[in-house]
Structures are given as C-alpha cells and as structure tokens.
C-alpha cells in the first residue's frame, strides 16, 4: 500500500514539473488533446494527400468558375460565341490561334475560345443534372429493392436488366428521337438511362449495411422502418454512390458530347463541345485547331471527374488507414 502511494506521488510530481515546463515556455496548459475526428474531416484529409484527385478537383473548379462567369468576360474579351457579323465572315474565318483569338476562329469567324467556354456551360449543366436525375431515381429504386426485397426487388432489378440489355447510345438516340433534340431532353435521356447502375450499386451497398448489428440494435430500440432506412442504413451506404456519381458526371459529359456530335443534342448555333467537334470535322485538315480545343476540353474535364471519383473512393474507405 505504502509502495503504491509512493509511486503515485512521483507521478504527480512529474506532472507538476511538466506543467511548469509548459507554462515556462508560454504554452497553453490543457488536458489531453483529443481532436474530434469525423468521417468527413478524415475524408478531406485523405483526399488532400491524393495529388491526382486534387488536380482533378482544381481543373473542375477552373472550368466551373469560367463557365459560370462567362457572361462577364467572354464577349468583351473574345467576342460573341453565337452571333456573327455577316460582313466580316470571310475576313475573320479560319484564323489560326493568335493573341486576339487564342484558340483561333471557326468556319464562320467566331472565336473558338469563346465557344469552348460557353460549351463548358452546357457540358457541366448536362453532366450535373443528368447525374442528379440518375441518382434520385437510382437511390429510390435501389433502396426499395434492397430494403423490401422479394417481389419489389425482382421487379426493379429485372427492369434495370432490361435497361442494361439495350446498347446505351442507341437507347439514348431513340429516346431523343421520341422527345426531340434539345439540351433538356439530352440530360433527361442520359439521366433516365443512368439510374440502373446507381440502383445496382446502392442496392448491394444497402444489402451489406443491412446485415450490421447496429441495424438490429436500432430496431430493438423501437425505431420504425423509414427511420432505420434513413438514419441508420443510408448514411452508411452512400459512400459508393458519391464515388460512382462523381465518375458518372464525366460519363454524362461524354454522352452529351456524343449525342451533340451526332446532331441529337444541343443544336447549332448554340455551342457545345460535341457539336463543335461535328462542325470542325470537315475542316480538320485545313484548320485542325477548331477540332483540337473542344476535344481537349472533353478529355481533360472527363478525366478530372474520373480522377476525383477515384480519389474519393480511396478517401472514403475507412479501412485505408495511413
């Protein structure tokens, strides 16, 4: 007993010494520091370490800012992306890149840089809206299928299989042929075509989360089905959707470009990366820059979204402890 007391005293003395030391050095004395760690804070920290993901994020931000603020700086600096001065067309058309027109001018004398920036608006809008539609439908369908199982599961997943059975771009073209070509119809078509994959990913994610004991524990506390689904299952099952959704934005941008290239999407003179490519195709040999810039824009933006998604996947994986 005496022995223990003795040890105790020494500990206290050491602590006192330590505190004095801290005070002497002007440090704040505080209890054991335990910063609260949350899944999101951890995710952001891990994401910041992934250089490719950060590069993707930066590029997406640049494109986003340029697209949103385009009205402020593009017309005065580069000229109108749509309207053309009919008297000047022959003088201005097919100019190679220069200080005045950094990306050159197209067949009708319009500034390619201006059109690429305005094309970004279309791409981002379609990408985000189409994926939003897919995610909303997909989450709902996946949740119903996984949570209730049985007949509803069979019906929803077989319906998804039917969607998968059609060649994607043909299905999209058929839908737009039905709805008529326009930007709105493009994102509606892409959005509707995207839900089955989201539903599948979400369903399997819920099925694995559902087996966790904390779901039983919540039920044993008297929580109702909707509450268990929304508070205990969803938050644990959305991580794959965030990843998949981010990557899907890239895919949707690509689909929009493909549809517009085929003339089923955004209609000229409204610029979109896809229809710019289509217009530039015939002049590829004489004026390759017209094709280069929208092509590069598609490549880099889609890549940026995929890199971001990839980074998010690693960052959201709690098992990847550094």
């Amino acid at each position: 007993m005496a022995d223990q007391d003795h040890r105790h005293k020494i500990d206290l003395e050491q602590v006192a010494e330590h505190v004095e030391e801290q005070v002497a050095y002007g440090l704040e004395v505080q209890g054991p520091v335990r910063p609260t760690r949350t899944l999101w804070r951890d995710t952001v920290r891990r994401l910041r370490k992934n250089k490719l993901a950060v590069a993707g994020l930066i590029w997406v931000s640049i494109v986003l800012v340029m697209a949103v603020t385009a009205d402020l700086w593009v017309p005065p600096l580069l000229g109108d992306p749509i309207a053309l001065d009919t008297t000047q067309v022959s003088a201005r058309r097919l100019q190679p890149p220069s200080w005045e027109h950094p990306f050159g001018t197209d067949n009708l004398g319009r500034d390619v840089a201006a059109r690429v920036v305005y094309g970004a608006r279309v791409s981002l809008r379609v990408g985000v809206l189409a994926v939003s539609i897919s995610v909303v439908i997909g989450l709902l369908m996946g949740a119903i299928a996984a949570f209730y199982g049985g007949l509803s599961d069979t019906i929803i997943m077989r319906l998804a299989d039917v969607f998968f059975a059609f060649p994607y771009i043909l299905f999209a073209i058929a839908m737009i042929a039905l709805l008529g070509p326009s930007e709105t119809n493009v994102f509606i078509a892409i959005g509707i075509l995207g839900w089955p994959s989201i539903a599948r990913v979400f369903r399997s994610s819920i099925l694995s989360v559902k087996e966790n004991e904390y779901v039983d524990a919540a039920r044993a506390l008297g929580a109702s089905d909707p509450r268990i689904l929304s508070r205990h299952i969803l938050p644990n099952a959305v991580a794959p959707i965030i990843v998949y959704g981010t990557m899907s934005i890239g895919g949707a941008i690509l689909s929009e470009a493909a549809l517009s290239f085929l003339g089923m999407g955004v209609q000229p003179p409204q610029p979109s990366w896809g229809n710019m490519l289509a217009e530039a195709r015939s002049m590829m040999v004489v004026a390759p820059w017209i094709m280069l810039w929208p092509g590069l824009a598609i490549l880099t933006t889609v890549l940026a979204f995929v890199l971001m998604g990839d980074g998010l996947r690693d960052a959201l994986d709690v098992k990847m402890k550094e």
Binding site: R37, R219, A220, L221, G222, A223, V318
Partner: protein, 336 residues
Amino acid sequence: MSTLLEVNGLQTYFDTIDGVLKAVDGVTFSLDRGATLGIVGESGSGKSVTALSIMRLIPMPPGRFAGGDIRYEDRSILEMSAAEVRSLRGNNIAMIFQDPMTSLNPVYRVGKQIGESLRLHKGMSRKSADVRAAELLDVVGIPNASQRAKDYPHQFSGGMRQRAMIAMAVACDPDILIADEPTTALDVTIQAQILDLMIELQQEKDTAIIMITHDLGIVADMVDNVMVMYAGRPVEEGTVDQVFYDPKHPYTWGLLDSLPRYDVDDKGRLIPIEGQPPSLIAVPSGCAFHPRCPYARDVCRAEEPKLSNLGDGHVAACHFAGSSGFVRGSTAGGAA
C-alpha cells in the same frame, strides 16, 4: 414480486428449403419484476431466438410463431400491432447485443445514439436527449462523460462500447433487459465490470434481466433462475442452487462436467459431451438428447419426455429425472 413476462409453450419455427426448422419448440418460463433469468445452452439451442421472439425481432418470413404465447403485463406480445411492438421495444423491453464492436452505428456520435430511444419514446428534444445521454454515460462509468458523448464509436474501446450499449438499453428505464451474451466479445477483466454494472443498475431500478449465455460462471454469479435449453426445448429449469447443486437432467450434468474446476484435487481431463447438437430440422425422435446421452434407454428413443415437476419449481425433461438410483455417473452403460 409480480409476474412481468410470461412465455408459454412458445414455438418459433423457420420455413427453410430443407424443411421446417424448429428453433424454439415449447419454451415456457415466467419472469418476475427485478428477477434474473439465465438461459443456458450450446450454440444453436434456441437461446437467441427465444430472446428475439420476445422482442418480436424474428424476420418473417421465413420465421413464424407456430404456437404458444408471450405475455407482457398480461398483454400478448404476439398479438400486438407493429406500432404497439415498436413502442414496447427499447421502452419497456430493451436488449443488449453480443458484439459491441458492430452494435453501434459508426456514423453517429455515441451520445446521439444513446439519446435516440429517449427521443423516440419519451419525446425528448434534441437538447435534453443529449444532456440525458451524457448523464447515462456517466452512470455506466465512462469518465469525462459529457465530452465522450461527442465521440464516435471508433474512438471507444470494446468495454466502453459495451457500456455505451448498456446506457442505450437502460435509457428509458425498461422493465426487462435482455442481454444476449453481453460479455462474449470482451476480455475477462472487462466481463466482470460489465456484469457488476448490470447488477448495480438492476438493483437501482428493479429491472428484470434475461441473461443469455453459454458461460455457466456468469449464470452462477448473477442469476436467480436458470433455464437450460437443448435443441430448442427447455430441458431443465429451476433456481441456481437447484440446477447447479442438484441437477437432474443428464445434459445439465454434461454441461457442468465440461467446466474446468479449480476446487477439485483430481486434475483429470474435462469430460466433454460427445457428439454435435442435432439439426433443428430433423430433431431426433423421443428425447432430443438421446443420441449423446450415456444413460439413454429404449424409452428415450421412442418417447419425448415431458417436463416433470421435481418440487419447488424445479423441473426437468427426462424420463428418469428424480427417480431413485438415477444419479450422475451411475450408469455409463447403454450409451447409444
């Protein structure tokens, strides 16, 4: 003491592709306010299904109640509507799960999870639930509770998580606490602390506890009555003293013989019960234990023994229970 919970001839069956699985087949017991019942048996003997049946947490289908009744304060739990059962769960009857590592939701702060049942059943505001949750954490012995309530489960150790689980279970002052092997996932020193905590809370609130375990040591320590289960059926029921010091069923003998003991000079080998528990789809004819019973006779293969009363509430389901000359180790002959 008044009877709080009565389980009468409960039969919980599961329809599987191989046939009907009789997970619980005729369990009968009653639980008084403030009493502790231990349910003991091997894995797959129907202990957990009994507990889940009381909470009506059996997934249906494939599960179904084929017979019997569960009455809580004279209301049949089996006949309640879904909403009535929900208001019972967590509020009147609460459950502590086996694995504290997976029983807490990783995305919510511990305090929030403890407060959930308070918000559900007592209609507490977010704020008062938070305050109460911190108090509860303090009650279950978490130091610096108001601070720790803001932690996430992964910041808790196993023992702390089980304490948090207990705080969750007792948040609404339930009448009955069902603990399904609450200490199996913990190391021994923590086990004792958790059991002490449960006893303490029980004495304070006069809570009845159903302790499901295969650890006979726990049963001997904290339980008033014991039910020994085998193949979904109760084989022996009685007070701790009756079952431990005067067991009448060969299965109970087997369980006790397979315990390591330090109070016996003879440092002999443990005596295991030979064989495997039977499949619950094809339960052996007659007494379900007869293929493993060293005392089995012809009557055991042919006829299912009824629970026979041995006096003072001590019952056993064996043809020979209580008959003179049928004692532990008497006959090793006639083994199947």
